[in-house]
């Protein structure tokens, strides 16, 4: 509210808590002034009241404090946002690193599994080669027994003086038994070669 102070331009001291504000005409004090023409030719000065000035000042202080408070909140929120963003970036980087580590482990596991399967396959091949060698030797032994039987019969015929039958038996059954034994012995050779190859393959797989 404005107050009208009329009369002579007598400066009056301002309130103690607002010493810069005083009553008077232009050039006096800090208050707003309204010049009022008076009938006597004197001027009436409408000045800002001390209470309004105080309110204005407190209002400015309150605004400034509020602005500072809001600014502090904004800065605090910005710091929080930046920290959270930094944490998010760090967590994302860690997640990517862990994903990469997991992929590496997965690749490593596949390689390990492949190697183990290769070794299992080589071991199975070695077992099979041993079985084939054993069987081929058994077959060769049977063929050998058969050939020995034929030769024993031939010897018996020879000893009985049946030379023609001896020669005939040797050329028929004997030749067939010998061919069979030759074939079985060749199979033994091949089985032995396969076994040696399987052993070498297992060693290669073992050395990785």
């Amino acid at each position: 509210m404005d107050e009208i102070e009329s009369g002579a331009l007598t400066p009056e001291p301002g309130p103690p808590d607002y010493p810069g504000l005083g009553y008077g005409g232009p050039g006096h004090g800090d208050g707003a002034s309204w010049l009022l023409p008076l009938p006597e030719g004197q001027l009436a000065v409408l000045v800002e009241a001390p209470a309004q000035a105080r309110r204005s000042r407190w209002w400015n202080i309150a605004l400034a404090l509020l602005a500072v408070a809001v600014l502090s909140v904004a800065v605090s929120l910005l710091v929080t946002a930046r920290r959270a963003s930094s944490d998010a970036s760090a967590a994302t980087a860690q997640a990517m690193s862990m994903n990469q580590s997991r992929d590496d482990l997965d690749t490593q596991q596949r390689q390990v599994d492949d190697r183990r399967r290769a070794m299992d396959t080589a071991t199975s091949a070695l077992d099979a080669a041993m079985v084939r060698l054993e069987k081929s030797m058994t077959d060769a032994a049977e063929a050998q027994h058969h050939l020995v039987d034929v030769h024993t019969r031939a010897a018996d015929l020879w000893n009985a003086g049946k030379r023609g039958e001896t020669a005939n038996l040797a050329k028929t059954d004997g030749a067939a038994a010998l061919a069979d034994l030759d074939q079985k012995t060749t199979a033994v050779d091949k089985a032995m070669t396969d076994l040696q190859a399987a052993t070498r393959d297992l060693q290669v797989k073992f050395d990785g």
């Binding site: 605004l63 030749a175 076994l195």
Partner: protein
């Protein structure tokens, strides 16, 4: 009494009002900044939550993969130990088997002699060849017996821990 004539405010008053307006504008700007910062903070916190969740999931998957990889490596180590035992246990039978094969080939050559003498009816050569064959057969049979024992032992090798 005349109507009051309103004159423009004095410079000090204008400055104060300008200052007030400035403070108001600053306050509004600060409020806008605070709101923006709040939105940014909220978004960043959301991103942080998602990133941490993603990281934790990745960590769990990595740990699970580590367990699987360790298990696979353990299986491989077991297989390697087993294969090492097999390879070691096969060394002797392999040598014995090679000896048996050599004997079989030698016996085969003698059998060819026997067959030739039988076909040509040469008893002296026949008997001599049979004697050589018998000696080889005995050695061959002994070698096969030895091989059988060695293979039995190799079929259950002692796997080192």
């Amino acid at each position: 009494m005349a109507e009051p004539i309103v004159t423009p405010p004095q410079p000090t008053v204008r400055r104060r009002r300008r200052f007030s307006r400035g403070l108001l504008i600053l306050l509004v700007v600060c409020l806008a900044g605070a709101v923006s910062a709040g939105v940014m903070a909220r978004s960043a916190r959301h991103d942080q939550t998602i990133a941490i969740k993603t990281r934790d999931e990745a960590s769990s998957r990595r740990d699970a993969q580590q367990v699987a990889s360790d298990a696979a490596q353990g299986q491989l180590d077991d297989t390697r130990r087993s294969d090492l035992a097999i390879s070691g246990s096969l060394t002797t039978p392999m040598a014995t088997a090679q000896h048996a094969v050599d004997l079989a080939n030698q016996t085969m050559a003698v059998y060819r002699d026997i067959q030739r003498y039988a076909e040509s009816l040469v008893p002296s050569g026949f008997n001599d060849a049979v004697n050589r064959a018998n000696a080889l057969i005995k050695d061959y049979n002994d070698t096969l017996d030895q091989l059988g024992k060695e293979l039995d032992a190799a079929s259950n090798p002692a796997v080192p821990a």
